[in-house]
Symmetry: C2
Subunit: 345 residues, 2 copies
Amino acid sequence: MEKEVTIYDIAKILNLSPATVSRALNDHPAINSKTKLSIANTAAELGYRSNTFASNLRRKSTSTLGVIVPRLDSSFMSAVLAGMEEVANKAGYNLLISQSLESQGKEKSNAKTMYNSRVDGLLVSLAYDTEGFDHFENFVKKRVPVLFFDRIFDHSECATIVIDNEKAGYDVTSHLIMQGCTHILHVTGNLKRNVYIDRLSGYRKALEAHGIAFDEAWVLETDLSREAGKAAVDYMEKLPVRPDAIFVANDICAISCIQELKQRGYRIPEDIAIAGFNNDPVSQVVEPSLTTVYYPGKEMGAIAVKTMINHLTGTSDIDPANSVVLQSELLIRDSSRKLQREARN
Amino acid sequence: MEKEVTIYDIAKILNLSPATVSRALNDHPAINSKTKLSIANTAAELGYRSNTFASNLRRKSTSTLGVIVPRLDSSFMSAVLAGMEEVANKAGYNLLISQSLESQGKEKSNAKTMYNSRVDGLLVSLAYDTEGFDHFENFVKKRVPVLFFDRIFDHSECATIVIDNEKAGYDVTSHLIMQGCTHILHVTGNLKRNVYIDRLSGYRKALEAHGIAFDEAWVLETDLSREAGKAAVDYMEKLPVRPDAIFVANDICAISCIQELKQRGYRIPEDIAIAGFNNDPVSQVVEPSLTTVYYPGKEMGAIAVKTMINHLTGTSDIDPANSVVLQSELLIRDSSRKLQREARN
């Protein structure tokens, strides 16, 4: 185990007195800004944690796990957190949760807060635009385990929990093709993230498997918000050929598409079939009900915390060898049932 | 300002060595359970915080606010947290969030975690079954400000932010009466909480104002879940007189009522008018669209954090003098429009 970094270490490196370092870290007015900056930089490099007591106490468990998620306002994330809470509660752990609001900057600041709160382990689903792993390095250095779920980084010291997004994207697209659709618009999220690039890859492979040419113009990258649903319908109407199906990478945006299409006089699924992703409860409320992918959020959360606690209690390691791929399930509903509906009529 | 409690204080009171106290608090096997228990009790009484450094450092700001909410899986709470994040981010604060899952026991354990994470302030919306203030006393003692929002306690040292639930309940009920309804079932949540008891009080006052007798059998206390919506329809069918309206204290449960009623062949609003509460986005997706109360969640979150930060920066106090009552708004939609609909036909 690495030794805890103290103000004495920082003082030694910079050839300053420990008192100066302590004052600088407490933003004392007697220390000039240049010195403060160099001390802050050195402290960050060494992984210094403010308010430390002593290294033996530092290692003490807080029975707290940190969770950083992109947004809290999704039923998928609520399900993940419910699964996490269930396992954590039984094992006597508390969760501290923060949201990055899809911003790398805020994710970094959340990571710092979690670090200073001395969480025993950190569970992360990445923001849209996160590019580097730097802000998690301190945890790895201090042997505070980090686990990624859903939106992940590949890292040699971190486990991951995902669903097979490529297979799910393949299944949705194949289903639409089997219903007779040949012009399928794919509305997706930020392609930096595994979940969206993998779904796109599945969409592409399904087209190829059925002899349909892939065309980049038929992939629309959005933020998958309600507003993006309306924009997608605008985009669709400008395509040279009218799509006969839209596969949207989440339900909220798919439902907004349905509402917008209905308002513009399209019949669903007769004119355009729609499929979403996540099995958000609202996908059963919308009319017609939305074809979607059931994505085992609760299970994902439960397995993530189980993996973490097994690691903390020495039962298993948290490296990629313990990564898990969960199965998802295509739920066929009225929004894409072209064949059965015609047969019934 | 009170002095920070140390293991030396605990040792002195119990006439033990500081090493014994330290070991007991770290759950060392060499200390017997009886001693551990008495040390833990004394530590709790004194408001001891684990891993403390020194009282001057203790007072240092962590730029972190703790938020304890009943559940994260509601769009109202998502809106509150969005408002909180916006103000907190601008002021350089991070939020640490935890959910009580409507349980007092978990709320207590969350409060402990927040205390040990050294949050600068705590914002709380209470669980269904919370009865005492004990688990927040340590914060008040240490001058860590506590603010309640939505589901509140009245406490001389805490500010509160609420909407006028009684007026909102009155407005919904009056609207239903104006649509010609005289037998209005009220489906509500745990009546220990201000939000539900106040809405009930508004319902009751509106009935009285229109000369309709109040009957306890027409108030159904539930957990306001989807399942409760189905149970409410079962309950309704057993009443001696069939209701011509149902006023449900949240939208999720109201929508489940609508779906169940439609399945059983009732026409909405012709046979039964329905009103919900919260303006959850799904209230616009359900058919017919749901009459509900817009409840300014984002504003509530923003004001809560503003009040907290003003207190932390010395601009204002956090006592009840700074409590805020926000206005809500009745949104009339198709699920209760009996008159207009009949006029149109």
